[in-house]
Subunit: 211 residues, 2 copies
């Protein structure tokens, strides 16, 4: 955890976090040395300890900040939507846009789980479960209302999140397609993948005619 | 590249490769030391150089072996199939089953691209493009034949491969669902995601009736 420091100190702590993200993204957590990190922000190695207890607490701090931000922003994105298809579209669009703008954080949060100590890892895994749980609930509700075909909501959740997060592996802001175009392509893939095949809009109509 | 060694030597080279996979998977390539690696296979550090020029050539060897194997086996899986939907199902099933059995290799091949020297990286990226190109071609052919809705085959290829490869992040052989059940769930997600919404089986029938 970041120690209590003044406003200058808070800026330095933030600079250390940013440099940490950059170096871990480039070299991996275990390979990053505190000496490298100190040089990157123009400090002596020893001075780092005013801001972070150790390398592990810096990694934990980076990943936890990222997860807290992700959880609060996804709630905003879903706020006020009740239809499962609307909620699914909102979740997909949010996830993609967020991941296209924070690629290094996402990479670290996903790849360096292995480098977190058990207690830290448990806390991050619990936050990730909450984030995944929102999509799982959307899929289950869609299935209950007869809109989605979902055999196993948990597996579908993992599959969809992997698909969306994979955009971090190749997305470039100056690429061929805009964020909007990419969101449309992925949204079609996801909604088509869970929609009741062959009966997407037809089911409610048929019911109405029979009633 | 592995040096020319006798049959005992070939076994040792293979043991080094396996230990390398394990250590890189656990710690990351940059963090793995040759001393650690030598200890893992019961050799002196210096003896490693009889088998591999250096740490970089070991990584390259591991990743190239993996890609060669992937390319030759996917060809077998698609052999004799001409219908785009059959080919898509075969590609999805192959990719999942292969990745469920070689999780550490896959993780390394995907994550340690960053640690390969430029020339090595170019060779691996070209092999990966060949592998992705097979799926891309299936999607384009399906779209041309009016079976699939695919706005951008390249993006859909990346999206589908990320979805499928993501299984390495959580699959356990002793888990709740069998490989067959998982393949079915993912195949439904992928084929539903690219099928022409609402008209999957209906199109050919309607055409036949009109003809």
């Amino acid at each position: 955890m970041a120690r209590t420091v003044g406003s200058n100190g808070a800026r330095t702590a933030q600079a250390i976090r940013q440099a940490g993200v950059k170096l871990i993204y480039q070299h991996g957590y275990e390979a990053m040395s505190l000496r490298q990190l100190a040089a990157e922000v123009g400090l002596q190695s020893g001075s780092l300890y005013k801001y972070f207890d150790n390398k592990q607490s810096l990694l934990f701090d980076i990943v936890r900040d990222h997860m807290e931000d992700l959880l609060s922003k996804v709630s905003e994105a879903l706020d006020g939507l009740s239809d499962p298809m609307d909620r699914l579209r909102a979740y997909v669009g949010f996830h993609l846009r967020y991941h296209m703008t924070r690629m290094a954080h996402v990479f670290i949060a996903n790849m360096e789980i292995r480098s977190l100590e058990a207690e830290h890892r448990a806390e991050i895994v619990a936050m990730r479960r909450r984030y995944e749980g929102l999509l799982d609930a959307i899929l289950r509700e869609g299935a209950e209302r007869g809109l989605f075909k979902v055999t196993d909501s948990r597996v579908s959740t993992y599959a969809i999140i992997s698909m969306l997060t994979g955009i971090c592996m190749w997305y470039r802001p100056d690429g061929r397609l805009s964020q909007d175009e990419l969101v449309t392509i992925y949204t079609d893939l996801v909604t088509g993948g869970v929609a009741l095949t062959g009966l997407p809009a037809a089911v409610p109509d048929a019911r109405r005619r029979r009633a």
